[in-house]
Structures are given as C-alpha cells and as structure tokens.
C-alpha cells in the first residue's frame, strides 16, 4: 500500500520528559489506523507532531506521500490535507457557529476582509446536510457554547470534512458522547474509509476502535509497542495483549512488534 504519511525515528522531549520516543509509523492511503494506548502513552503528543503543532526533536523525519516535509506547521499540515478533530474539541464557546466552522481559515479576500455572507451561507448548508441540525432555533449565528456534547462533536467533525482532508485524525472523538452520538461518530469514521480517505482513530475504548479500523497500533510509554492488521487477530486476542502491555510494557512473543 502507498504511504500517505510516514514518521521515521520521531521523538519529542519536553524538558526532561520524553513524551514520544523513536516512533516509526506509516499510514497508508485509504487506511484507517486505530491508535491505542493508556493515559500518558504519548497519543496526543504524536497527534500534535503530525499536525505541526509540535516540532519533532532533531533526527526525526516526517514524510507525506513519500516526500520529506521540513518544518511542518499547523497551516502547512492543513495545506497538505491533515485535519484533526481534537479531544479538547477546539471550539471557541462564545463565538457563533460559522466563526467556529471557519476558525483559523476564514474566507477572506487578499486584504484579509472577511466574506461573512459566504461563510454564513456555507455553514447554513452544512448544518442541514452534514451536521443534521434540523431545529430552526439553531442558526449559523448560534453560539456554540449552548450546544450539547454531540452537537459540538458534529461541528468539529463537519469542520474537518468541509475542508476536504486527506487524513483525518480523531483524538478521542467519542469521549463524553451518548450511545447514539457515539454510533453516529463511528459511522462517520466508516464513511471516511468509503470516501477513499485515511484516518487515525485514537481512543481508550477498544470496542469503539476495533470494528472500524484496518490496523491497530499500540502505543506505550512513548514508543510503539506493537501493531497488528485487524484480520490477524480477534478482539479477544487483542484484549489479552493490551492487558499484557499494561502490566509488562511489552507485547511479548508477538511477531508484529517491530517491523
């Protein structure tokens, strides 16, 4: 499979703390990769490296479609087509829906003057198609802080979709969602696959991750402890191995640990 994104020997140290250590990871075009790991395993740091929020320590390399990317920044990652649905939701609570959808990349002319009409119109359209808002009480002018958890997640996901991402990273998207909202979110991940795009799906909950991914990468204490194609093992086997990682820090006697 072609590599969409590849990390080579990527590390990230904050002061004395090594959050991510010597990670090698590939994500194929149209591949859904589940990233599992306990708190502090380095999942969020890894995400922020991929999106250009953090720079890797010297020596680490990032490739996009087999071409090396130097000085990856948030705007640059977006230009490449990397979108994130963040754990923190990354919404501005006191701002209107349309301002949130276009947060950080407002539609404007070359003098930076906003095209408010177009943004409101696009938002209105997205609300009825992608977000599934039907109530007439909610408009593109509604303030996001008044939305429910699921609605807010819908906004974050729709935002990623609208900008035609190639690689969508979902950082614990099901956290704090109700059952039906979770269902919707997982359907969305499946639709990424169907649309021919790639995704990295990060979650604590293996029961959410397993059904929708092609490959599972297990992160532990900042390193890749192992990875499996989904068709290589059953959910029960996977659970077994995850317990082992949590206890011993290694997946022992598995062939896929280092590739």
């Amino acid at each position: 499979m072609d590599n969409l994104l590849q990390l080579k020997n990527v590390s990230k140290t904050f002061g004395e703390v090594s959050a991510v250590h010597d990670v090698n990871l590939e994500i194929g075009t149209n591949e859904i990769v589940g990233l599992l790991g306990d708190n502090g395993a380095g999942k969020s740091t890894l995400v922020k490296l991929i999106t250009g929020y953090h720079r890797p320590d010297p020596g680490g390399e990032i490739y996009w479609r087999n071409k090396k990317v130097d000085h990856l920044s948030v705007p640059k990652a977006r230009e490449l087509g990397i979108e994130v649905v963040y754990q923190e939701r990354a919404l501005a609570d006191q701002q209107s829906l349309w301002r949130n959808i276009f947060l950080g990349r407002e539609i404007s002319n070359r003098w930076g003057m906003l095209d408010v009409k177009t943004m409101q119109h696009e938002t209105q359209k997205l609300m009825h198609t992608a977000m599934g808002f039907t109530s007439s009480a909610v408009t593109s002018e509604s303030v996001v802080g008044t939305f429910s958890g699921g609605e807010r997640q819908g906004v974050a996901i729709t935002r990623a979709l609208y900008f035609k991402a190639e690689l969508i990273i979902l950082d614990e998207p099901t956290m704090g969602l109700s059952l039906s909202e979770t269902r919707k979110c997982l359907d969305f991940v499946a639709s990424i696959k169907a649309a021919g795009k790639a995704a990295v799906f990060i979650d604590h909950n293996i029961f959410h991750v397993y059904p929708v991914v092609d490959r599972i990468v297990v992160l532990d204490r900042g390193t890749v402890a192992g990875q499996f194609m989904k068709n290589e093992l059953t959910l029960d086997e996977l659970l077994d191995r995850l317990y082992r990682v949590a206890q011993t820090g290694s997946l022992e006697n598995n062939q896929g640990a280092t590739r």
């Binding site: 359209k125 009825h128 007439s136």
Partner: protein, 336 residues
Amino acid sequence: MDSVAEARPLSPTAKRSRFSRLLRKYALQIAIVFVALAILAFFIWRAPITFLSYDIYYSLMSTTPFFALIAIPLTLVIIAKEIDLSFTSVMAWGMTAFDVVFVATNNVWLGFIACLLAGLFAGWVNGMIVVKLGIPSLVATIGTQFLWRGVVLVVTNGQGLGLSAVKETVLYSALVGKIGDVIPAQFVWTIIIAIVIWFFLNRHKFGAHVYLVGDNADSAKLMGVDVGRTKILTFTIVGLAAAFAGFVVSTQVNYFWPTLGEGYLLNTLASVFLGGTSVFGGTGTIFGTFIASYIIAIINPGIVAAGWTAYWTQLIYGFIIVASVSLQAVLRRRLN
C-alpha cells in the same frame, strides 16, 4: 434541502423567532442604550435648562473623545483577554517625543509623526513583554506605566511645553477645530476611529482572531491562529491611540503637561467594561464602549447641573457601573 431552508424565513413564526434572535444577539447593546437614555432623561428632568440647550452636548462631544479615543481600541485588548494600564503614561510619552523632535527641528509635523511612532513603539513593547516573556499584562503594564511616566519626567525635567506653534498649522483645526461651529473635530475623529476599529473587529481576519484568542487561546493555537502576533497587534494599536489622544488633549489645551494622562485610567477602563466587554475575554463590542464612554462623561456635569454637589459623582459612577455590570452578567447567563 436548500429550498426548504430558504423557504423557512417566510413563515410568520420563523419571522418572530428571527426577531427574538436579533433581540438576543444585541441584548447587551440594547440594554446599554436604554441605560444611556434613562440617565439622559433623568438629567433632562432634573436640569432642563442645561440639558435642553446645545452647549452641554457640544462640551460632551469635545471632552469625551479624550478617553473614548483610547477606550475604543482598548476594547480589542480586553476582548483578547489582556489588559493595558500603561496608556495614561503613553499619552505623555508620545507628547514627550513631540517635545524633543519639535524643539530640535521646529517642525510640528515631524513632531506629530514622532509622537505617533513613540506610542506605536510603547504599545509594541507592552505586547512583546506580555507575549514573548509570558508576563501577565496586568503586571507588565503597571510596570510600563511607571516606566514611561519616568521617561517623561526625566526627559522633560518636569517642564511643560507651549503648543502655540501647533495652533498655526492645519493640524489644529483638523484635530480640535469646530466643524460648522456645531461639532468639534475630535468627535468626528472618535467616530471615524470607532468605525474603522469596528470594521477590523467584525469584518476582518484580525478581528476574528482577536475574538478567538480571547475566547479560547488553546483552540486558536491548535487551529493555526498566530496568538502572539494577534495580541501584540492589539497592544500596539492601543499605544498608537494613546499617543494620538495625548496629542489631541494637548492641542486642545494648547499646552503639554508632563502629567498628561493622569486621571484617565479609570474612566477609560470603566467605559470598556460598562460597554459590555467581558473581562474574561471573547466578547465585547465597539458600539458598547462608545455609548458607555458617553454615559461616564455625562454623569459629572449632570450631577452638578441637577444641583447636587460634585461629591456625589463618584458614588453615582460606582452605582451605575456595579449595577450595569451585574445586569450584564445576569443577561448573559439568561441568554445562554
């Protein structure tokens, strides 16, 4: 689906809900206008001779800009969840730069440009200290308030400067002249600056980022907004505005006092907060600040004209500010 969405606003219930939405959206602005009208009505009732003649309004239009010119851009800083307390000294620092350049070159225009550049620089320094060194703006700008006042006193040796040379240039009539004998020029400048800043706040990327930075700086950063640059720019604009206001005040009184700016701090801050800008960042309007600055300005003459002693002024200020800000807090909670 589109046609459904577009057909909707035509139905009468939707129209009503649209109206109530507008009402909600502008609730704070509507409230501040009512507060202003109520106060005005009260003074007209208590002191009709004063408040039914044009003179009082002329004098309000000519003196309020002295702090409104700063309060309007200061709104940006506070929306971005920062504060600037140094502008009082920056007013005098700008005039000190004028003083030095004018004495050296005898050119009013060069002095005026030096004044604006000095303000720009002082604002930029505030921004750099806050953003690059990570010092809270409350602390940083208390520091720079003393710093610039100190520079002013050392450079001027505590001596003022007569500005009759300014009066001979077109700058005088352009900044503080009378337009058709009914409107002071500085009032027009205040409106122009309010419109320009309103435009940048609401219709430009910069303003969108100011709101985002104040609302949730982490989100803004994650979504690729340059948080530091946005904040530095807001401080720089206030510095520039403070120097400009300092020049306007000095030109009006025809003299540069090294104590220029003292006494403006609380009026200016009160205008911003009374105008509905939240100290928690992320919300605020230029319109609110503009109206609030006139509420602040009308109280003092109103009380005197109503026949009370000026000793009441502070008490009434305090009451109106506390009551309005509480009202806003309640309104905001209701609306969300």
